[in-house]
């Protein structure tokens, strides 16, 4: 079975969680997938609709208090091995919403984050770089 683990890094399926994001980072995520210029499918990536199919979780947004429980239960749905990537400064530190009473920031207090991609939003190449780092971690985990 261990020989199969070599292939884990060749087929990382991406799942997006929007934890109260302003949609800026989500647009960049969509860009990495759809626009021919930043074809993330070259890495074998594929955006999947169901959390049960995911390998790499991309979290955007500062984790608002309202969405927190839903994000946590969604995260638990994702089968192991999984790698979490925080996209944008909001999940990393809270960003410009840091001091707000409606935020449960930062995400890594609740979810084990593995890779951070700062930016507001990060450019698509930076996201791809972050995903490439996450793939390395995924390979070591499976």
């Amino acid at each position: 079975m261990s020989s199969l683990s070599r292939f884990a890094g060749k087929s990382p399926w991406l799942y997006r969680i929007n934890a109260g994001s302003c949609n800026g980072c989500d647009v960049e995520l969509a860009t990495t997938a759809i626009i021919p210029r930043y074809d993330v499918e070259r890495l074998g990536c594929q955006y999947c609709a169901s959390p049960k199919h995911a390998d790499i979780v991309l979290i955007t947004g500062p984790l608002t208090t309202r969405v927190k429980d839903k994000v946590l239960s969604l995260y638990d749905e994702i089968p192991n091995p999984k790698v979490t990537v925080a996209i944008g400064i909001c999940p990393i530190s809270g960003g410009v919403f840091r001091e707000s009473y409606t935020m449960s920031r930062p995400v890594d207090e609740y979810i084990p984050v593995d890779v951070n991609v700062p930016g507001c939003p990060p450019r698509p190449q930076a996201i791809i770089e972050g995903i490439a780092k996450a793939i390395k971690i995924l390979e070591s985990r499976s």
């Binding site: 074809d39 410009v96 890594d108 084990p112 991609v117 700062p118 990060p122 930076a126 996201i127 770089e129």
Partner: protein, 164 residues
Amino acid sequence: MWQLVLLKNLLKGPATEAFPFGEATTPAAYRGRVAFDPSACTACRTCQYVCAAGAIHFEERPDGLRFTLWHNSCVFCGMCQHYCVAKAIHLTTDWHLSHEQARKYEMVEEGWVPFRPCLQCGELMLPATPPLMRLAYRGDSKEIEALRHLCPKCRQTRAAGRNS
């Protein structure tokens, strides 16, 4: 006709950037990692005041000022660069900011702006930096250069003495 579009696409070949397998193109005006030059900083703290994300912090200590910019809070708006009179802060085109969680708290730009003793009385103060002097006086003169290293008090005394 969509069939023609598809055929054209097929014939033209992929329009994909080489990154991550090669170099990515970066526009010259890209606002990426922030670089701070402590030797040019006059500690006016305008950058801290205009920083929308509150990513810039000055800590005053007896012997100088510690500048800290947290890249994981910065929104790369470039306001600090825009308002910096002394040109001590600017945004580079480096966008390779993604990092593993272990390095989360290392993503800072730090600088130490030391106080210098006044040449006359020895009191600690922050002299005006050369870029600021160029901006203020256009030309260099020995007298101004000498005044630069005096504390406000000594400067006043010298100026009063010269006039009398």
